[in-house]
């Protein structure tokens, strides 16, 4: 688990990007419901490291982040792409201890 930032650094329904020791990038989100999620930051459709900059919301009640490049939705809890279920992004385990967000490997 790598500590990435304080929970208070996150804005509800918005993400931040963090760099893990192995050089990979995660997108960390705080939802307005108060849950924290971490997904791979690389958008599989554009190849750009931008998922952290997508809009967070829900589709049919399922919490999602929408890629800012070509607008596919990814489920926050599973990483599955709702617009193309054959693809998706890795989900990283997340814990919040003493107000600090820690992210592990998928």
């Amino acid at each position: 688990m790598t500590p990435v930032c304080e929970l208070s650094a996150l804005q509800p329904d918005r993400g931040v990007a963090a760099l893990l020791p192995d050089g990979s990038q995660v997108a960390v989100f705080l939802t307005s419901a108060g849950t924290v999620h971490a997904l791979g930051n690389i958008d599989p459709f554009s190849g750009a490291a931008v998922l952290s900059r997508g809009i967070v919301g829900d589709r049919g009640g399922v919490p999602v982040v929408v890629s800012p490049v070509y607008k596919q939705a990814f489920e926050l809890t599973t990483g599955k792409c709702l617009d193309d279920p054959s693809t998706g992004v890795p989900v990283h385990p997340v814990v919040v201890t003493d107000g600090v967000i820690q992210v592990g490997s998928p």
């Binding site: 790598t2 500590p3 990435v4 930032c5 650094a9 804005q11 509800p12 329904d13 918005r14 931040v16 990007a17 963090a18 760099l19 050089g23 990038q25 960390v28 939802t31 307005s32 419901a33 791979g40 690389i42 599989p44 459709f45 554009s46 190849g47 750009a48 490291a49 931008v50 900059r53 997508g54 809009i55 967070v56 919301g57 829900d58 589709r59 049919g60 009640g61 919490p63 999602v64 929408v66 800012p68 490049v69 607008k71 939705a73 990483g79 599955k80 693809t87 998706g88 992004v89 890795p90």
Partner: protein, 830 residues
Amino acid sequence: MTRTLVIVGHGMVGHRLVEALREKDVTDQWRVGVVAEETRPAYDRVALSSYVDNWDANSLSLAPHDDDAVELHLNDQVVHIDRDDKVVRTTAGRVQPYDALVLATGSIPFVPPVPGRDLPGCHVYRTIEDLDGIRATVEAAHSSGRHAGMVLGGGLLGLEAANALRGMGISPHVVELGPRLMPLQVDEGGAGLLKRLVEKLDLTIHTGTSASSIEKDGDRLIAKLSNGVELDLDVVVFSAGIRPRDELARSFGLKVGERGGIVVDQACRTSDENIYAIGECANLDGMVYGLVAPGYSMAEVVADRLLGGEAEFPGADMSTKLKLLGVDVASFGDAHAKEEGALEVVVNDAVAGTYAKVVVSDDAKTLLGGILVGDASKYPLLRPLVGRPVPGDPVALIGPAGGGPELTLPHDAQVCSCHAVTKQQIVDVVNSGEAVDVPGIKACTKAGTGCGSCVPMLKKLLSECGVEQSRALCEHFDHSRADLFEIARSTGVTTFSELIGKHGRGRGCDLCKPAVASILASLDNGHVLGGEQAALQDTNDHFLANIQRNGTYSVVPRIPGGEITPEKLIVIGEVARDFGLYTKITGGQRIDLFGATVDQLPQIWARLVDAGFESGHAYGKALRTVKSCVGTTWCRFGVQDSVSLAIELELRYRGLRSPHKLKSAVSGCARECAEARGKDFGVIATENGWNLYVGGNGGFTPRHAELIASDVDTETLIKLIDRFLMFYIRTADRLQRTSTWIESMEGGLDHLRSVIVDDSLGICADLEAAMAKHVDNYADEWRGVLEDPEKLARFTSFVNAPGTPDPTISFREERGQNVPVLLGVPEVSR
């Protein structure tokens, strides 16, 4: 045992047979082989003319047969039928045994034997390749600066072809041998009006004559008409009717009609019981049908017969409705009153430019047919009533709008004639909840997917069934954007959470969040990244820059009117050099700097703001640019100072958030160097003041802006634009540009004019006040970010390593500048 069906020809009808058979053949009794001469699979030939709108052949595609039981052999032709052994042979050498054979070979255009008809520049009008050929001729002609064309044939297709030529910048002459245009569908009265209407649109109509020769004259064509007229032309299009392709039938001993066409019975069977013929090549009851709907019916009949059914050809509806050159024409049923004793009722309004006729039975009790020219809005209601009792007084049916009785259709009336769908079928899918909107009805019944003329009726049926047409923004709000705007404006709600809490459901999404953010910004609720608004913004608005394909951003400072001092140009150059940004002059008369990473954006903008630049809102649904030409200051033709006005307008409306982006331009005279008529609002100088045009755009469907006020002074002009923009912002849908907004408005441009010029709704003072508030409250967004450490904090690459650049971003050099190295899209397995 599986049997083999071979279909010759993959036009719309052959395609339909495959679809119909595969849908009905649930036990896979038949394997299907299709031999098709064209190089591409069947496409929507009925919509062929729309190809000239975008030259995108894919937009005509029909659903592919994604099916193992179907084999499609393109670019091959059946040349031999061995009826005894039941085998066909093709030019590619394929030998294909069949249990049943269907000829769906369609027809070819008839080219009258005019001397010179084979010269380069002479074309027919049937395939995508034909239109490509016409385009090539026209483009070659354009370079020599003269443009005229002749269409031989003034029928439905001829006029379509003329319209297509017009779209390519050619003035068409239409030459019709008969005494009037569209002789098959329209009578003398209707054709008279049609001629008047199309002549206003730059068409020259020659009736009662034909071409006697076509000759080459340098790179031009000279056509001599039998009435002595000579036409000097770039291009000729033959559209003089079609001939069924019955050559296979003739060569291999099947019975053909006296005037062509493969003779078939009510089951579409030819004189050989194993061979069927359908579509435009078939001759049924002595008729060869040149429309797609009868062909589709034949395909359904054959599909049924192949599976042991007893279906028979149900008869054909020859009704047509089309919008040609913006003129509505419809003809249905017994349009020419051929039935014994039939009575005609005509309303010919020469002033309004409409002609309407209904044909009724001798006792005036049964509707037999009709013709509508100029306004065909009653067509979807009248056509299904053919053969049924006339509801009330026949005159009232076609009387002035609003006067007629409220018509409801009987349940067994056919609503969609292209796909033979009845009102009952539609009502059923709506009432069962299978379809809740027009796309749903299309998917369930196919109604509305042909010529589209029944779509207004589908909407009417939905509301008859009590289904309100949803204008809902997305799954989180039942309201339209315009309704939400009114709610926010009248209740003073200033946050998304309050709005969704009180008027929506769920958490929101990428559709409603930016739309609400835009509404709140239009209502002047502070900085777009202030408080909760920040979370609503699309990445572009969130970082006040446009995202690029590699995750970097572009920087576009505002350069009002395109005018810039050398000092400021130098600053842009220095900034671009120091940050290694790719630099390009945009189509909007300003400069775009590409390749900035998130963390560089504030540093770049600090230097630009210091030098007096502001955000150009290239990222926002907001005013982009007001382009200008040099105008009176320098240009010898200019009649007004276009640069000063463009700058004034750009500064007035900068930062104004709207349903979609807004573009403008000002030209100093009618030569129009600034392309103002391609803009949402465009201004062109006149001797006496300014002309204001609204509703133009480029993009996927380019449209010219239309004149809404002429010769106004600057003060009046600005008032009108204030009102126009505010009215748009309040009432348009999400991502609806001004052109489509005006189009979807009941009453269109005339209504808009009455609202913003004549103040028919009494809201102009309010609209002006709202714009005044915007102008007073404007502040540069980028300055706002640079002055606020909290907003600045989000411009970091990594929350846990703010100084580290994103390792996925790298550049290579092209023509002396940085361009992105695109990473291969990573394999993601789940």
